[in-house]
């Protein structure tokens, strides 16, 4: 089970990220997870949001470049060794991770993982009885 991540290309220009979040706020879109990857000249914001389709349309209308990427969001206990266990499984299967970001709260830790063959990641983790978030777990009603 994978979910859709929203990727946004941002020029290195002051106020651009603020503008992005303003549009999401105006459209009542909740952000579950967010990371920023940056180079010297531009950045890529990657987000898991409550209403990906609505967010995509609103941001495109405002001139942002949006991509939807399939990622896996894995749920694990917030304790030492949890992430290691997951990565060990993926490594054993020969899966290379393109990027990931993780956070924890209230005994639960979540990691968003992107790899070229996202289906395989899903299969492998589910075979190992790991809990993956579905779109509906995040989806805002």
């Amino acid at each position: 089970m994978h979910i859709q991540q929203l990727s946004v290309f941002l020029e290195d220009r002051s106020g651009r990220l603020t503008e992005l979040t303003r549009i999401l706020a105006d459209n009542d879109v909740n952000i579950t997870a967010l990371s920023v990857a940056e180079t010297a000249d531009y950045g890529i914001v990657r987000m898991v949001v409550g209403r990906p389709q609505l967010a995509k349309e609103a941001l495109e209308k405002a001139g942002f470049s949006i991509g939807l990427t399939d990622v896996v969001c894995v749920n694990m206990p917030d304790k030492p060794g949890s992430l290691y266990r997951i990565l060990e499984i993926l490594t054993d299967e020969g899966i290379n991770i393109d990027y990931m970001y993780a956070f924890s709260n209230n005994d639960v830790a979540l990691a968003v993982i992107r790899a070229a063959d996202i289906r395989r990641v899903t299969e492998v983790l589910e075979e190992n009885r790991l809990k993956l978030l579905s779109q509906s777990d995040i989806y805002q009603l």
Partner: protein, 436 residues
């Protein structure tokens, strides 16, 4: 190619001797009119000891003095008119990025010539009575809009004189009025094409079949892109206001260069350094003599455009001399670390790569006495990778391709779509901060 696509076969397919005689007669008359009416020319002729009666054939053109843009500025605004202002019925002026605008005047006869050469041009592209032509060139002092306008009316096409800008209205008129021909700058054509794609306008609603594009240099790669986006056959129309405006030369269906309407505008190619006339086929600066224009004829006017001439007969049946697509103007040319760089070369690199858009801008700076070139390239709004590894890969590939094309290194900066200024008229491709 059938002959019914030639507006004026007698001239456009004339034998060389016939054209030679026509040009000679017109040149003789023009030189006399200039000498009699314009002190600037009389002084120039007197300086080299030339009597207007000495000029008998067009072969003597090479002995006559040149005119350049500064001469127009020095005689601003009406100093080069050969007729009293009462005979001038229209004035156009080019924007001129520095200093005074370049002013040109037209008599009724000049406007007739202009409509005639534009009628020939449009016919050459396959436009005829029954077509609806959307003219998205600027109407006003700029020659694009009104130039196309009267030629299109002359052939009996239906004209939509929409001028530049207001892309939404452009698309509405284009679909509602079923325009079959679009005339504008190539950069605006690409912009319109993208807007059609992005606004979900169905291909069935766009009836365009011909595009007539000019007023800025453009590459064959951009032509392919526009043809794909707008589903038209794209033709290059060439002109400059000093000579008459659009309609100095035009591309035919063979697309092997632009036919110059040499019964009115005699072209020569010169070496810009030595000022010697170069043989056909050699690259040099294009020079025009406007032998039939009345209000403001120009003698050997240096266009600063770089191109070549070809005189072999074209498959379309026309015998008119052809000029290659201009590589660029000598004043568009940047000299960066001693290397000649044309914005069109950058465009051609970008258009050859599937991952980039044709929207770019060159920024030249001088840092510690060293010229630096930075090129902004817009990413494709719909189709880009969110992996930095891939984006950086593209960036490096552009960098390498630019380096091998230009011979100098440039820093490539990927930017968001629609952030580079879109001129609805001419694209602002270069910012040279060294001059400040």
């Amino acid at each position: 190619m059938t002959t019914d696509m030639i507006w004026n076969p007698e001239i456009e397919c004339a034998e060389r001797e016939q054209m030679h005689e026509l040009q000679s007669n017109r040149l003789t008359g023009m030189v006399k009119r200039m000498y009699d009416n314009v002190p600037f020319y009389r002084n120039k002729f007197d300086e080299i000891g030339l009597e207007p009666g000495d000029i008998k054939t067009v072969d003597q053109l090479k002995d006559l003095p040149f005119t350049n843009k500064n001469d127009l500025r020095d005689n601003y605004p009406f100093g080069l008119f050969t007729v009293p202002q009462t005979d001038v019925v229209r004035i156009h002026a080019s924007s001129g990025t520095t200093g005074k605008p370049t002013v040109v005047g037209y008599t009724h006869a000049d406007l007739d010539i202009w409509a005639e050469v534009v009628a020939r041009s449009l016919t050459m592209a396959g436009v005829h009575k029954g077509d609806t032509i959307q003219i998205a060139y600027g109407y006003g002092p700029f020659t694009g809009g009104l130039g196309l306008h009267y030629g299109a009316e002359k052939i009996g096409a239906t004209v939509i004189p929409i001028s530049t800008g207001n892309t939404k209205k452009q698309l509405q008129f284009m679909t509602d009025f079923k325009a079959t021909v679009i005339a504008c700058t190539p950069s605006y054509a690409a912009h319109l094409g993208e807007c059609i794609a992005n606004n979900g306008i169905s291909a069935d609603d766009v009836k365009l079949r011909i595009g007539v594009f000019g007023a800025e240099p453009w590459t064959n790669e951009l032509r392919c892109q526009i043809e794909k986006l707008l589903k038209v056959k794209a033709f290059d129309i060439y002109g400059l206001s000093e000579i008459i405006g659009p309609g100095v030369s035009m591309e035919c269906g063979c697309q092997c260069g632009n036919h110059v309407f040499e019964d009115h505008f005699i072209p020569e190619i010169i070496d810009p350094e030595t000022l010697e006339v170069l043989p056909d086929g050699e690259l040099g600066e294009l020079v025009f003599t406007t032998v039939s224009k009345v209000a403001m004829p120009l003698l050997r006017y240096r266009t600063r455009d770089l191109t070549r001439l070809h005189r072999e007969k074209c498959e379309c049946g026309r015998t008119l001399v052809r000029m290659d697509k201009c590589l660029g103007r000598t004043d568009d040319m940047l000299i960066i670390r001693g290397v000649n760089v044309f914005p069109s070369q950058v465009e051609s690199v970008l258009m050859d790569m599937s991952e980039t858009t044709p929207h770019y801008q060159l920024i030249v700076r001088r840092e510690n006495n060293l010229d630096t070139l930075e090129i902004l390239v817009e990413i494709d709004q719909k189709n880009w990778s969110d992996s930095i590894r891939e984006l950086e890969g593209i960036r490096r590939r552009i960098e390498n391709n630019i380096k091998s094309m230009l011979g100098i290194g440039a820093k490539i900066r990927l930017v968001e779509p629609n952030t580079i200024e879109r001129s609805e008229g001419k694209a602002k491709r270069v910012i040279d901060n060294r001059k400040c």
